[in-house]
Amino acid sequence: MPAICIPGNVGASNSVERSGLTRAGNSQAAVTGFVHVFRGEMTINQDRDRVAEFEQHVVPYLDILLRVALALTRNYADAEDLVQDTLLRAYRGIDRFDGRYPRAWLLTILRRAHINRNRRQRPVLVADQDAALRELAATSDGSDDPERLVVANKFDGAVADAFYALPESFRQVVELVDISGLGYQEAATVLSIPIGTVMSRLHRARIRMKKRLFNDGYTREGKR
């Protein structure tokens, strides 16, 4: 009975195929499940790695991040917000971080976060960062300026005066390199300027400060 056999065969065939498909399906399901489990494990492991890397590469630099944020914002509250923003961005991006030069990496993130915050606060793009920083400094009334501490030592007082008399663009480089202890490249990253500009501004700033200290009788050496 071909009419019966054929369907039977077909059925058998289908059954075989189905069973084959089922086996394949099972196998696929098993693979998929394995992949899910594997991916799940990977995700958990990656997350653990992320937490460990964050602890290792980010947390130790909170102090310097806060100092640099203070130099950029000139305000404690804004500086703290900026560092929080930086931490969040660093946490999200730590998977893409290769583990080398964490301080430079964090300072780059901080710099971008600072620029973005300025953009959000001001509708016009910040084309001239020095002008923007001058403006930021000008809007501060100085009462919360962290550097304006009482300096007992006379020489330190004269140095502080010379420092505050510097043009803003010079003062920022001195602040980052001499006060916050950043390297030239790190300061260049934070200020988005070439390293050569950092060096020349630092040199010229020191000449100005030395001249002033010399004229006020604090040093014997005031020129280059």
Binding site: D47, L66, L70, F155, T219
Partner: protein, 96 residues
């Protein structure tokens, strides 16, 4: 001319006044990566009074500026540490 004659000339072991003046900021800022150059500058500063005085002035300036560093508010640091740990523990909670 006299000033030029007074200048310490370069040798294999010692930098000249011109080399030192060119690199003095970078040297005092710890930015000279070449050990030989750093040693030659150090050797020069040991013997040249003029350059030594310049170096001393910059070093004093740097020390004084360092003392201008604002005291970082320990409470602010604590808050940031908590914030950082919070990010990590949120991830930990997601894992569970």
């Amino acid at each position: 001319m006299k000033a030029l004659l007074r200048m310490v000339r370069s040798t294999d072991d010692m930098a000249s006044c011109i080399e030192v003046l060119h690199n003095l900021d970078a040297y005092l800022d710890g930015e000279i990566n070449d050990q030989r150059t750093a040693r030659r500058i150090a050797a020069h500063l040991d013997v040249c009074r003029r350059c030594g005085m310049k170096a001393e002035t910059i070093a004093e300036l740097k020390s004084s500026l360092r003392r201008l560093a604002p005291t970082v508010d320990p409470n602010a640091l604590d808050r940031l540490r908590r914030f950082a740990r919070g990010l990590q523990s949120e991830q930990g909670a997601d894992d569970r």
